[in-house]
Symmetry: C2
Subunit: 174 residues, 2 copies
Amino acid sequence: MGAMASRRSKAGDNEGANEEGAPVRDGAAVDHGPLDRRLGYLLRRAQIAVFRDFFAAFADHDIRPGQYSILTVIETNPGLKQGAVGEALGIKRANFVAMIDELQTRGLVRRDPSPADRRSYALNLTAEGTRLMAELHALAERHEQKIVDAIGLETYRALFAPLKAIARMGEGEA
Amino acid sequence: MGAMASRRSKAGDNEGANEEGAPVRDGAAVDHGPLDRRLGYLLRRAQIAVFRDFFAAFADHDIRPGQYSILTVIETNPGLKQGAVGEALGIKRANFVAMIDELQTRGLVRRDPSPADRRSYALNLTAEGTRLMAELHALAERHEQKIVDAIGLETYRALFAPLKAIARMGEGEA
DNA sequence: GATAATTGTTATTGAACATAGCTATCGTTG
DNA sequence: CAACGATAGCTATGTTCAATAACAATTATC
């Protein structure tokens, strides 16, 4: 059918191309080249791998990394208003609403009234939320241990300070 | 108006809440708690910070991190087929199509015919693509230097090996 | 008390990522 | 060589995440 014509249409007019003797190597082992010296690229790959493991570890509880971080901040700083929690985690207020909605619907977080300011809520964990967090923290520790096993304890510990410094990089620009 | 009712409807029936004496602390300085000991969280924050700087550095050329990584792999391994490039970067074939479309439309990448296999394309940089990559690599080096300035050269160098090991973690699971 | 700023919310958008199904081609096997 | 399955690229679609704009309720400021 004419499907072929439409398919190749995107590739365009290079039917007779390769005039410059362009290589056609077919790669089994692909060389990442300078990419292996780009910290951002490695950070992204490492972060994806860690999140994948985290996701699997928390799948039984249906908790994603972002939800765990929200619950942790609320647990550590009870009574915070939504904006403060979101800001601490780099989540825009608008996007924060639905996330808290779900956690509240699941009975993990309460939106208590803030006595001094009727605009805002005081976020707190419910009893069940507190109980769940004990489990999640234990799971998280085991998840961390997998990373320690992969790179060694000293190397693991040495990562935190530079990563924090990088995360703080260019903070006063917005 | 009734907007209030509908607004608070999501928060639900906690008008008289706070029965358990829940705190209402209003946080200026938010404590991240155990989150500061979760490598995945720090990796994410660091990666976001680095990408933001990268994005700003490449804004003039309208090149995003993913595009730079694609161009780099093609430059390093000319003649690869789309699937191989995408796989090397962890990009699904379906999503790879539009990315190459754009790079081709912008005259940076060619889809040369693969002589041995008419199903696949041999990806190569155009002359302009090659010229642009020289600029981009120079920009990338300056971008890396900013990170070095932030954490020191030795610390910077020490990050690569563990990050690669973490990225390889759980590779044989899919 | 009028005006500006804050808090939470909604709606909408764009980018990144995943899945299913399709066509064309290749490889193998009968 | 015909039939079959596997592969390469493509389309369509949906989901998630993040960013913006605009709004109502409330608070703070002058």
